[in-house]
Symmetry: C2
Subunit: 353 residues, 2 copies
């Protein structure tokens, strides 16, 4: 069996998890690739590593294209590495998910731009991932990457996604703390979109705050924030609505409900970044004290479990149905002899055949 | 049993399909609501109607927020209703899918704006749909709405989606012809995104073409179009890559491969719209002559079938597993006693228990 030169640091597959835990970056990179491609070896290593997860603070960063999210994530990582308040540097993982290039598999440019800034720092690990196949697969792969970085000891994991659609929300839902990034002057249609995305914001950032129109943007966002009712957060998954009610017994009674702060930054000039880091840390403490941390973890793991269950059920079913049968039902559907639901009934129960 | 006054036109549920076929708009509206909410009555009616589908030309319209898609769709509908070339007016259905408001269920404003323009025309039917639950559910519901309008005799169905992510691509995949809408001056980051979305474009539109920067936008798009290889279209679904090779035997040898035209429009001034309608019609004829129409229909129905199969498999499994068992596995996962894959194995095979 041929081995790549880069694989020589591994005696065999079973030591991958151990290598990752020992801080081997090559092993970590290899594990991430295996997870992204959903290979058995990656799954096996993640199983071995899983009990080491749960320590990282997962921070989602989302917003429309053009708001400067990548620069902001860059600057956040830099500040976590070189704190100005005398605190210890934190190890930072960055996962940039780009669902906008489903066909070409893009997301490489941002990677290279970042590498220049943060290259050579062993306390930073960066991974870009373009959408492959379904969004469900993307969310599952992202969750796996997060777990691997978490187990490998990265203390803050920044998960960056483009856009404001459902898919991005699915990915952001992985996070404990969600940053929504806006920028001045992106037009009226975007304003309408903000109303939806605002509801998932734990911290609101107006980046590019040196651009004209920042006052208008801030005013609009503030009024939208005020309109948003302080109702319990509603998570949607698989068509069900789950209302997450605070567990009163776990709550620190001194803790106030969280009101998303609105901050201005100019990432390219590193302006406002340390205030942003402070607010992310405040939110982490709020989650810990209020008991909401555990609630969010539970919602996240349930969502992850349901996603994997779904894939496993489909895979198991496919093994038991012949291609011929599937193709013949599909033909009847194409000829409009049966409707899609009748096709499903036929495939699942053997009726109509 | 209480009946709403608006329901009195129906004798019973079984006549819903018949009422829709007879052109009853109230019945159609009610059917669309039932489909959107995935109710059994809607499914039943769609089964009865399904053999009447397949006649409509499905046109997807996508692009970033701020490009003026809604105005463009408006103007397209108007021109289909009042053709300037002496052809017969066509019945137009509009489905506006807004995956950007997963929490509030938005998408109502656009509806009302449109109503003002096209209200009272019995040849136009408009439906807005906000994202509820998963994107898979959204795509399935959209497919159902399309089928209902198709069966009801709407000849052109415009499916409008916001954004350029995977979710939007899933929805656009429903269409025979895909319009990608751009606008001048949306910034560099958006340029990078275009590279991905361009690959699904059958017709490229620069709307708001009276704005400064239109020359730059057109130049950038043209060079991106040239870069795009004339390779066979690749559809992605459920993590699989399917290469659609043209069926040579079905191809009209005289037909040339389709090169996406690039058009300028100013929807608010109704400028360039009739050229756009002409190009949409050209593409329809190309699809018909080349045999690609059937290929696209097949890919679309396979995707729809796989989506429904997935939901049905999950629903069937859920019926057979106790809540208690599910909850206990989830708890072990939250405590990191088992990994997500071990949780799935445990739930599917009864192992580890």
């Amino acid at each position: 069996m041929t081995q790549f030169a880069g694989d020589s640091y591994l005696d065999n597959e079973s030591s991958l998890a151990a290598s990752v835990l020992s801080g081997n970056r090559l092993a970590l990179g290899r594990l991430l690739t295996q997870i992204e491609n959903d290979l058995p070896a990656g799954r096996q290593a993640l199983m071995e590593l899983y009990h080491r997860t749960g320590g990282a603070h997962l921070v989602g960063v989302t917003g429309a294209p053009g708001t400067g999210k990548s620069s902001l994530v860059n600057q956040l990582a830099r500040l976590y590495r070189q704190p100005t308040d005398g605190s210890e540097p934190k190890k930072v993982g960055i996962i940039a998910v780009d669902p906008s290039s489903p066909f070409t598999g893009g997301a490489l440019l941002g990677d290279r731009v970042r590498m220049r800034d943060l290259a050579g720092d062993p306390g930073v690990f960066i991974r870009s991932m373009a959408s492959r196949g379904s969004l469900g697969g993307l969310a599952a792969a992202t969750a796996g990457l997060v777990d691997a970085l978490d187990a490998a000891g990265y203390e803050v994991i920044l998960i960056e996604t483009v856009g404001a659609g459902q898919g991005e929300v699915d990915i952001v839902r992985l996070a404990h703390t969600t940053l929504v990034v806006e920028a001045p002057g992106l037009g009226d249609e975007i304003q309408a979109i903000k109303a939806g995305i605002l509801e998932i914001a734990d911290v609101l950032v107006i980046n590019k705050a040196d651009m004209p129109g920042v006052e208008n943007t801030e005013r609009a966002l503030r009024s939208m924030l005020e309109l948003a009712h302080p109702a319990p957060r509603v998570y949607l998954h698989h068509g069900q609505t789950e209302r997450i009610t605070p567990m009163a017994e776990k709550r620190d009674l001194a803790a106030q409900p969280w009101h998303p702060p609105l901050l201005r930054t100019v990432a390219t000039q590193c302006s406002g970044i340390s205030e942003l880091v402070d607010n992310i840390e405040l939110h982490r403490r709020y989650l810990r004290q209020s008991g909401e941390w555990e609630l969010r973890v539970q919602v996240r793991l349930k969502s992850q479990l349901d996603n994997l269950l779904q894939s496993a059920l489909v895979a198991r079913w496919r093994k038991n149905v012949s291609n011929q049968r599937y193709t013949s039902v599909l033909s009847m559907l194409v000829e409009r002899e049966i409707s899609p639901w009748q096709a499903v009934e036929s495939l699942l129960d053997g009726e109509l055949q």
